[in-house]
């Protein structure tokens, strides 16, 4: 059933043609937001709060202190509601009366040059009255949360009964901190008015989110706002919601000065002002029988949402639905809260709530394994879900369920079990700290990721996609998806070419422009290839059939298409239709929260310096089942890049805070892995083919973020005996844990 890596096929599916934006990117010709200059363009800058929580007593603009002609905007100047429209509009465009986090935008200025705009900020005088600030999850617990969710499998009472049957009850806690996206291109947006239409052009994942935010803030009809994505220099979720706010800022200034206004954040401003991965505390209480089978899981998830709602409710929802891991369990209860603190709002980041909870369940499985004398492979092998099993939501897992296949394949490739056991035995035999040589360690993690929007999101979104003939006879695919590096600008044409039975040269990919493409949804949630790609295949097939039906003898596809198009426009718009069986009750959390899941197993190898406890990640072997790899090189690239972000999160990356201010708020102090810090990352793709996906494809983008960290932490434990319970597992933390009672395994 499983094969490793697809062979080259005539259809082009499973082939890895060069990405069309590659040549422009390597030569420096690709134009990102900051590379674009419009005639007469001005530059914007933002005045930000220096306090985590304060009343604005007064906000005064001293025009005599500013360069002549400079314009300024405060909350008093807003033309509509003071809210960035996302799930709701509770996130203020500009602070009005109260600031609720450090770096919250208070006012804006625009000037003819970037330097003049920065200098003009000094013309504001703000008097703040500091108020008490809530800065941690613990402090926030006594206050109403931003959002709360709970789910329970089976019937009331099942959980208690399952715990009563358990031979052992094991508890544990995992903590994670703020992770910053560090897309290499910072946030950037240009806005201008042209013939009564408001234009925004910039770096974004979701052109229609920006469109919706602009129509809401300026009370404009849909057709009077046009949003285009420039080349996007990385997103990882960080350009899902924030560009909506930035586009409003740039548009407010453009309206005030009557010129195009460009706003580009420098790295420091980008770090202090934009969202991060939610810090989390995840607590597990598990009931198991003496053979290590899970009987009961009681899980509590606490996340720090920061000052405003952003996308936190859906992050929490995804967290609930991944918290039980790829394991069978009779009775499960999960309770989750996103608390409100006086910190920069946290929001989407690759994985979207799943990495925190999957780290927690994996550490819990390790804890259970230790308690019962089972190795990490054995405890997983005894509990892993298989096709036909039911998740705690009641969803019956489909035939492509591949957790066991991943587990077995990664074992086959790495010899994990024997190596883990040998290191455990050697550690037991070696008196502590005598030889000084680096200690090897090996760790295993099993993970999964639901592809597409959670619950009924895709049903609501509908995701229209248009396929149309161009005058030259090529088929153009029009979607709102942005290529932020992941490669939909080649993967979409590949799927379309295969569906139409034509070559890549017969395909065109429309630039994401709300004036030209339908709202096929945001470029998020590992949905682009699987959901939008699926609609593309159907729409292009319909175009193909029309062209074929009109074909004259000896005429090639392109000739027929050109002739048809010369007669009249040929265009097909289709919507995503989730399968009828995929229903989800959002009040009870019963049903199929995702149409399918991608699966993975990682083995991480590390070396730990016994004196300094510095950890060197040596190699990660990632076995991932993603249905079908349309473009294996890009697919592997997603897994390699996501794995390294997970390794960074496991070992290095965390924003520290003092009095509500980020301490490491620049790239000199917020450290991501360099090429020298990085492990070798070996990717092995399993392709079971999922019948619901285009050519069998499932989503892949976020999956690798769920696996790397728990594998690294288990490897550290294997090397040292120290039990890591948080990320990043820095030498300081390892030393601290080693001194705790029960801190060693």
């Amino acid at each position: 059933m499983f094969q490793t890596a697809a062979p080259m096929t005539k259809s082009g599916i499973g082939d890895s043609p060069p990405r069309p934006d590659g040549a422009a990117k390597v030569s420096g010709a690709a134009r990102y937001a900051d590379d674009i200059s419009l005639p007469g363009m001005w530059f914007g800058a933002t005045l930000r709060s220096p306090h985590p929580h304060a009343r604005i007593r007064s906000l005064r603009w001293h025009s005599e202190r500013a360069p002549e002609g400079v314009v300024q905007v405060t909350a008093a100047d807003l033309p509509g509601p003071n809210g960035v429209q996302l799930l709701d509009d509770s996130w203020p465009i500009l602070a009005d009366g109260v600031v609720r986090h450090v770096a919250e935008p208070v006012a804006l200025v625009a000037a003819p040059t970037r330097i003049a705009a920065q200098e003009a900020l000094a013309a504001f005088e703000v008097e703040y009255e500091p108020l008490p600030a809530i800065l941690s999850i613990e402090e926030a617990l006594s206050l109403p949360p931003l959002y709360e969710l709970a789910m329970e499998s089976g019937q009331p009472g099942d959980l208690d009964a399952a715990f009563a049957r358990a031979d052992r009850v094991i508890e544990g806690e995992v903590r994670t901190g703020l992770q910053e996206h560090i897309y290499i291109e910072c946030q950037g947006m240009i806005a201008w008015m042209e013939e009564g239409t408001l234009h925004a052009l910039g770096s974004m994942q979701c052109p229609y989110y920006v469109h919706k935010a602009l129509t809401h803030a300026f009370d404009l009809a849909d057709e009077r706002v046009r949003v285009r994505a420039s080349v996007v220099g990385g997103g990882f979720g960080g350009k899902e919601d924030f560009p909506s706010a930035l586009s409003i800022h740039a548009a407010l200034l453009a309206r005030a000065c009557g010129k195009p206004v460009k706003m580009i954040y420098d790295r420091h401003e980008d770090i202090i002002g934009t969202s991060k991965r939610h810090p989390a505390i995840v607590r597990h209480r598990s009931g198991v029988d003496r053979d290590g089978h899970l009987l009961a899981l009681d899980i509590e998830i606490l996340m720090d949402g920061g000052a405003y709602t952003t996308l936190s409710p859906v992050v929490l929802s995804r967290a609930l639905l991944h918290s039980f891991g790829p394991y069978r369990c009779g009775a499960v209860r999960v309770r989750g809260k996103v608390v409100r603190t006086h910190t920069t709002p946290n929001s989407a980041f690759r994985g979207f709530g799943a990495p925190q909870v999957e780290l927690a369940i994996e550490r819990q499985m390790d804890r259970i394994g230790r308690a019962l004398g089972l190795d990490p492979y054995e405890i997983r092998d005894r509990n892993v879900v298989e096709a036909g099993d039911r998740l705690p939501t009641g969803q019956v897992l489909d035939a492509s369920t591949s957790a066991r296949a991943c587990l077995e394949e990664v074992e086959r490739r790495t010899g994990f079990r024997a190596r883990w056991r040998a290191i455990e035995a050697a550690r037991a035999a070696l008196p502590e700290g005598q030889d000084g040589a680096p200690r090897p360690g090996i760790g295993l993690a099993l993970y999964f990721h639901g592809a597409g929007f959670t619950g009924n999101g895709e049903r609501r979104m509908k995701s229209p996609v248009t396929a149309r003939l161009l005058e030259d006879g090529r088929i153009e695919i029009a979607t709102a998806m942005t290529d932020m590096g992941q490669g939909c600008a080649i993967v979409f044409p590949q799927m379309a070419a295969a569906a139409a039975g034509v070559g890549l040269e017969d395909l065109a990919f429309a630039e994401p422009d709300t004036g030209d493409v339908p709202d096929s949804g945001p470029t998020v949630a590992s949905r682009t290839t699987m959901i939008v790609g699926g609609v593309i295949v159907r729409a292009v097939t319909e175009i193909r059939d029309r062209v074929r039906a009109a074909a004259r003898p000896q005429e090639c596809f392109r000739e027929t298409a050109r002739r048809l198009r010369a007669e009249r426009p040929v265009e097909v718009t289709l919507h995503h239709e989730p399968p009828e069986w995929q229903t989800f009750d959002e009040s009870t959390y019963r049903g199929a929260a995702y149409p399918t899941y991608a699966w993975g197993a990682d083995v991480a190898e590390v070396e730990v310096d016994p004196d300094t406890l510095a950890v060197r990640p040596v190699r990660v072997t990632a076995v991932c089942e993603i249905g079908r790899a349309i473009h294996p090189v890009l697919c592997a690239g997603q897994i390699q890049g996501g794995t390294l972000q997970a390794v960074g999160w496991a070992l290095l990356e965390e924003i520290k805070m003092k009095d509500g201010h980020y301490l490491n708020d620049r790239m000199a102090t917020y450290i991501i892995p360099t090429i020298e810090d990085s492990p070798r990352i070996d990717v092995h793709l399993l392709e079971s083919g999922w019948e619901g996906g285009p050519f069998g494809a499932k989503g892949v983008g976020e999956l690798p973020m769920d696996g790397g960290a728990p594998a690294i932490l288990q490897a550290i434990e294997n090397a040292t005996g120290i039990v890591p319970t948080a990320v990043p597992a820095t030498p300081e933390r390892l030393l601290e844990w080693s001194r705790l009672e029960g801190g060693r395994s």
Partner: protein, 151 residues
């Protein structure tokens, strides 16, 4: 005060502040936006250019430091086809995703290949340690420059 130096083979004479960043001159008045700003403090390498053939971070180079010297940017390195094989390999091996770091990598890698046309993985790692990529996990870049098969 003015500073005279060569950029991409052309002599330029710049009046004004000798402490202006080379990066700003390139991206602004000279119209060479291929060189990117990722951090502005010498950490990420996106703004790497060659100064007398040696990779430097143009966000940390004041114009005065360029006086009488030769600067080469990604535009020049990739202009005449001399780097085509390396560039094609970078794209084919998955060494390019979002592309924001890519010009810096191209400049550093080009400098490395001038010195050492067949570097091994350790040599590539050392030469590119000053260039950060957030997309690829570096595997595609390493595979491209070491001539290894992708995946």
């Amino acid at each position: 005060m003015s500073t005279t130096f060569t950029i991409n083979g052309r002599e330029v004479k710049v009046a004004g502040n000798p402490m202006e960043r080379l990066l700003d001159l390139l991206r602004g008045p000279l119209g060479l936006p291929g060189t990117k700003e990722g951090c502005g403090e010498g950490e990420c390498g996106a703004c790497t250019v060659l100064l007398d053939g040696v990779p430097v971070l143009s966000c940390l180079v004041p114009l005065v430091q360029c006086a009488g010297r030769s600067v080469e940017t990604v535009e020049a390195i990739t202009a005449d086809g001399k780097a085509k094989e390396m560039l094609d390999r970078l794209v084919a091996a998955g060494g390019v995703q979002c592309g924001a770091c890519t010009p810096g990598f191209v400049v550093s890698a080009w400098a490395l290949l001038q010195e050492n046309p067949t570097p091994d993985r350790a040599e590539v790692r050392r030469a590119l340690a000053g260039n950060l990529c957030r997309c690829t996990g570096y595997e595609g870049i390493l595979n491209a420059l070491c001539g290894e098969r992708p995946g």
